[in-house]
């Protein structure tokens, strides 16, 4: 009997292989919406692997509300039938404070290895990181944002934590007729056949909002709190600088991830208008961003 489960996120089919860890995936809120047959997967996350990371070098660390981890690279090594390094190219690795860890060989871009991850908050995050590593090589990247959909097109609102992304999208839901929330924390942005899409994901922060759907992106808007409402279209460099910090922050600290991420951000801002919105938490702010995006 196998515990393998399947997920479909951002147009990518993943198989989660292994024992107890794989079996607990659907205990995580929202995951069940993304359930898919494990037999048709293009990507795999192999869980409950015995992972001892040789000479890890940590270049990024994060102490979040739910999880704390370090991210970096380690020396490549061989696990028969699983890991086949090419030359001396380092592996990408992550370790939670609990000791649970993740390993990715850039030369095998369809596979991520996970140790046993008994804590569900950590597993939820480990799957996010696994997806981000696999997706990055397939033009699919989770972007920290709150997303609304109106008239079949998505608008992503970016900003540092506490800026009021969720507040702003809630103002849309209340005042812009026909608008709907797609995701409140980490939708997947996908470039497919030259077009930029926002896809729902199992990672939606404090708001349980889980949808499989994908919508073409009409615009990306970076928010900042101001004592007035004002919106301006970004130049290419401004757009790049607006979007980049909302992409997985650890990736710019590891060589094998940085260049791919920068090129992804460049491709997105080349195709989608990006705005900066200084705003109050009021109805006029939502109307301003709505009219600017949909009527210009």
């Amino acid at each position: 009997m196998t515990n393998d489960v399947g997920l479909r996120v951002g147009g990518m089919a993943l198989r989660i292989k292994g024992g107890k860890t794989a079996a607990s995936v659907f205990d995580i809120g929202g995951m069940a919406v993304f359930r898919n047959s494990p037999s048709v997967a293009d990507y795999e996350v192999i869980t409950d692997s015995q992972l001892t990371l040789p000479s890890p070098e940590w270049s990024y660390s994060c102490e979040g509300e739910a999880v704390a981890f370090r991210f970096g690279h380690c020396e490549p090594f061989v696990i028969e039938n699983l890991l086949q390094p090419v030359g001396n190219e380092p592996f990408v690795c992550m370790q939670f404070v609990s000791g649970a860890s993740l390993l990715f060989n850039p030369a095998q871009p369809r596979r991520v290895l996970l140790s046993s991850v008994p804590d569900l908050s950590e597993l939820r995050f480990a799957l996010w990181m696994a997806f981000a590593l696999l997706g990055q090589r397939n033009n699919a990247v989770p972007v920290h944002s709150s997303v609304v959909v109106k008239e079949g097109r998505a608008v992503l609102f970016l900003g540092e934590s506490g800026t009021g992304k969720s507040t702003h999208t809630r103002l849309w839901l209340n005042h812009i007729e026909g608008s709907k929330l797609l995701n409140d924390d980490s939708p997947v942005v996908v470039i497919h056949e030259g077009r930029v899409w926002a896809c729902g994901s199992p990672w939606s922060g404090k708001t349980p909002c889980y949808h499989q759907h994908a919508f073409p992106v009409a615009a990306i808007v970076r928010l900042e709190q101001q004592p007035y409402n004002q919106i301006a279209r970004c130049s290419t460099i401004q757009a790049f600088s607006a979007l980049q910090p909302s992409c997985p922050p650890a990736f710019v600290h590891v060589d094998s991830c940085r260049e791919l991420l920068l090129q992804f951000v460049a491709s997105v801002v080349d195709r989608v208008p990006v705005y900066r919105l200084g705003c109050l938490p009021d109805k006029a702010a939502a109307e301003l961003s709505y009219h600017t995006v949909f009527q210009s």
């Binding site: 790049f240 801002v269 080349d270």
Partner: protein
């Protein structure tokens, strides 16, 4: 002096930039954008040691400027490179 070759110039959406990840928790990522002249100098000088006079010579060879202007622009370019941590002394 020498340009720091560990930092790579990347073309993103038609713009030439060097991306510098945040160094600490309070720091932010930095994006340094190059205009055509700054890019020309960067490409000419990236793989060798150079002095202010070398920068002036590159400008005089490429652009129709007098030496005083070239010297002023060369010094400004070096100051920008230094300010943005792109120079090794």
């Amino acid at each position: 002096m020498r340009l720091d070759s560990r930092q790579k110039l990347t073309n993103v959406a038609g713009e030439n930039i060097v991306f510098q990840p945040a160094r600490g928790k309070v720091d932010m990522n930095h994006v340094i954008a190059f205009n055509d002249t700054a890019l020309f100098l960067y490409n000419q000088l990236k793989d060798r040691d150079f002095s202010l006079d070398d920068v002036v010579a590159e400008l005089l060879a490429e652009y129709e400027v007098d030496e005083a202007t070239a010297r002023k622009d060369a010094a400004a370019w070096i100051a920008e490179m230094e300010k943005n941590h792109l120079l090794l002394q």
